[in-house]
């Protein structure tokens, strides 16, 4: 594993009975990034997290998290994982839940004052029953417990799903603030791109169990152009490099990659939204792994 890479998938596949949830996935996550794992539901995002946290073993290929093969030796000591449903012991009080975190990490890093501070900042009382917390509070307790391991890599599966807008903002702000302070690398998944714009600087795009895009957001955006132009076929926008094009009435819009802008078209740098949607609508889904930058 390279010096600066905290997570690497190398030809990783995962099959459930007859269906491949992930196939031939290659991705690298450099240290210090806030990375977004995006894709439609069922694209394999959760499977990728399960593999990275050692809860599942890959059917093929190699997973490397901070130099450890999690399928073999379990969760890497320097990584933390919060599953989408934020599983916590519902019958316990918050202080007991924190003690559970301390107990389960007795043989690892654990920072009790830090966790207490995070829970306090979240406005969650230590005497409250975990099962009675609001989804937002529950998410923040789960995040506090994950951060309590003082991770170098934080894996978050849909951390914002099912949260109201205020809770989304608070969870994201806490997450980014702690990442800013500690330099923790973050990999978080979402199917809502708006949550990720401005927050993430690295993008991994999954579709149908394959990695379609992987790289720095800035470089990916710079490598693409969002075109608008007349629909007449005389000017074919960047033949062979079109990711996706659609025509409404007399206007064609297209997302193109690494190519010259054809005459008659207006081109702008795509937004993250444009980029992701372009790749999600790409047809037919190419069989080779797309990887840029």
């Amino acid at each position: 594993m390279g010096e600066g890479v905290v997570l690497r998938f190398d030809g990783v596949g995962k099959r459930f009975r007859r269906r491949w949830a992930l196939r031939d996935c290659a991705l690298e996550l450099p240290r210090g990034r806030i990375a977004a794992l995006v894709g439609p539901n069922g694209a394999g995002k959760t499977t990728a997290f399960m593999l990275a946290s050692g809860l599942m073993r890959p059917t093929s290929g190699r997973v490397d998290v901070l130099g450890v093969d999690p399928g073999r030796s379990g969760m890497a000591a320097g990584a933390s994982f919060v599953a989408q449903d934020k599983p916590l012991y519902r019958a316990l009080r918050v202080d007991e839940m924190l003690r559970a975190g301390a107990v389960l990490n007795a043989r690892g890093r654990w920072d009790t004052p830090y966790v207490l501070r995070l829970v306090d900042e979240a406005g969650v009382g230590l005497g409250e029953r975990v099962g009675e917390l609001s989804p937002g509070q529950r998410a923040r307790v789960a995040l506090a417990l994950a951060l309590g391991r003082r991770p170098d890599l934080l894996l978050l599966d849909e951390p914002l799903a099912e949260l109201d807008p205020l809770a989304r903002k608070q969870v994201m702000a806490t997450l980014l603030a702690e990442a800013a302070e500690t330099g923790t690398t973050v990999l978080l998944s979402s199917h809502v791109i708006a949550d990720l714009e401005d927050s993430c600087d690295y993008l991994v795009l999954l579709r149908d169990g394959r990695v379609r895009l992987c790289g720095e957001v800035e470089e990916l955006l710079a490598a693409h152009r969002h075109l608008t132009g007349p629909a007449d076929s005389a000017a074919d926008p960047g033949a062979g490099h079109v990711v996706h094009r659609s025509t409404v009435g007399r206007q064609t819009t297209a997302l193109i990659r690494d190519t010259e802008v054809p005459p008659g078209f207006r081109a702008v740098t795509p937004t993250l939204d444009d980029l992701v949607l372009g790749y999600l609508q790409q047809e037919p889904a190419p069989t080779s792994t797309g990887s840029a930058a």
């Binding site: 379990g74 599983p87 316990l92």
Partner: protein, 320 residues
């Protein structure tokens, strides 16, 4: 880690404690009532001397009758209590983690799967087994006068299962099935159903023959001798296993054959010699085999429990 298991299992363990403690209280109270009643009736010998027959009417029979309705249900309850307690403790251990998906939390901290699994089992199992052993001691003390009064012996069915180390083995087996089923099924209700079925199946397939794990001892009585003991009596404190007839060469004569030849209303002493039967044999387990049989039966339960738990562990290693 010990604290966490204890905290998670608190409700189940408290329920077990309540069941065991409540039962112990009832048993102690029953013994006090029995001895009190015997003293009042002036028939304390019924509870200390097996030679005294208390079914022959009068005050002794009054004592005999008044506690008769208690001892049957009490022994049946004790018989099922040990596996029930084991099941309660084992069913929630892993099934509830998987139901609430908290294993995803627990197994992504700095605790290995093996440690999580082993600590969960140890912390739950040890107090349960100790408590069951405690209840067994209380029960044998509390039921001792009942055993004298109603002529039960420790090697006889039910008494054998309620005494010694068998209750502990029984609780262990139920716990192991429940814990492993919880890992495999990941659902509390299904776990309970499978545990009941599994425990019953093992009991009838493997443990039903528990009195025959050691070869029985045999006595023979010449047919010419005396007719006493046709009912197969091998003396107090022993467990009859089989009886039948022997020919002059010492070969056993099949009972079916015998009765086909000598139907019941015939005089056996006349009929028996006509098919060559010269003596009666009786197979029995003597009281001296009580502890060896207890040991073997419990050892089988321990091995089955270990295999069951190991099967659950294998499953845990594969997928979460």
């Amino acid at each position: 880690m010990t604290w966490l298991v204890w905290r998670r299992q608190r409700a189940a363990l408290l329920l077990c404690a309540a069941l065991l403690g409540g039962t112990a209280l009832v048993l102690v109270a029953a013994r006090l009532l029995l001895t009190g009643a015997a003293a009042e009736l002036g028939v304390t010998a019924c509870l200390t001397d097996r030679a005294v027959d208390c079914t022959d009417g009068g005050r002794r029979y009054e004592l005999y009758q008044s506690f008769r309705g208690f001892q049957g249900p009490a022994r049946a309850w004790l018989w099922v209590l040990a596996p029930i307690v084991g099941m309660i403790a084992g069913a929630g251990l892993f099934a509830r983690e998987f139901e609430q998906r908290t294993q995803v939390f627990a197994l992504t901290q700095a605790t290995s799967r093996t440690r999580w699994w082993a600590t969960g089992i140890a912390v739950t199992l040890v107090p349960v087994l100790v408590a069951v052993a405690g209840l067994t001691l209380v029960a044998s003390w509390a039921l001792a006068p009942f055993a004298v009064l109603y002529e039960h012996y420790r090697i006889e069915p039910v008494d054998f299962d309620l005494s010694g180390v068998l209750p502990v083995g029984s609780a262990l087996l139920a716990f192991a099935i429940a814990a492993a089923a919880g890992l495999l099924l990941r659902n509390s209700l299904a776990t309970i159903v499978v545990t009941v079925l599994g425990w019953t199946l093992i009991f009838f397939v493997v443990l039903y023959d528990r009195y025959d794990y050691l070869p029985a001892e045999t006595t023979t009585t010449p047919l010419t001798d005396t007719w006493r003991g046709w009912d197969g009596d091998t003396g107090p404190g022993t467990l009859p296993r089989d009886f039948g007839f022997l020919d002059a060469a010492g070969n056993r004569i099949d009972l079916t054959t015998f009765y086909r030849h000598c139907p019941v209303p015939t005089d056996m002493r006349v009929c028996a010699p006509t098919i060559g039967a010269v003596s009666v044999y009786r197979d029995y387990q003597p009281d001296s085999n009580y502890w060896p049989l207890q040991g073997i039966t419990t050892a089988i339960m321990i091995v089955l429990s270990a295999l069951t738990l190991a099967a659950g562990k294998l499953r845990l290693r594969r997928v979460v």
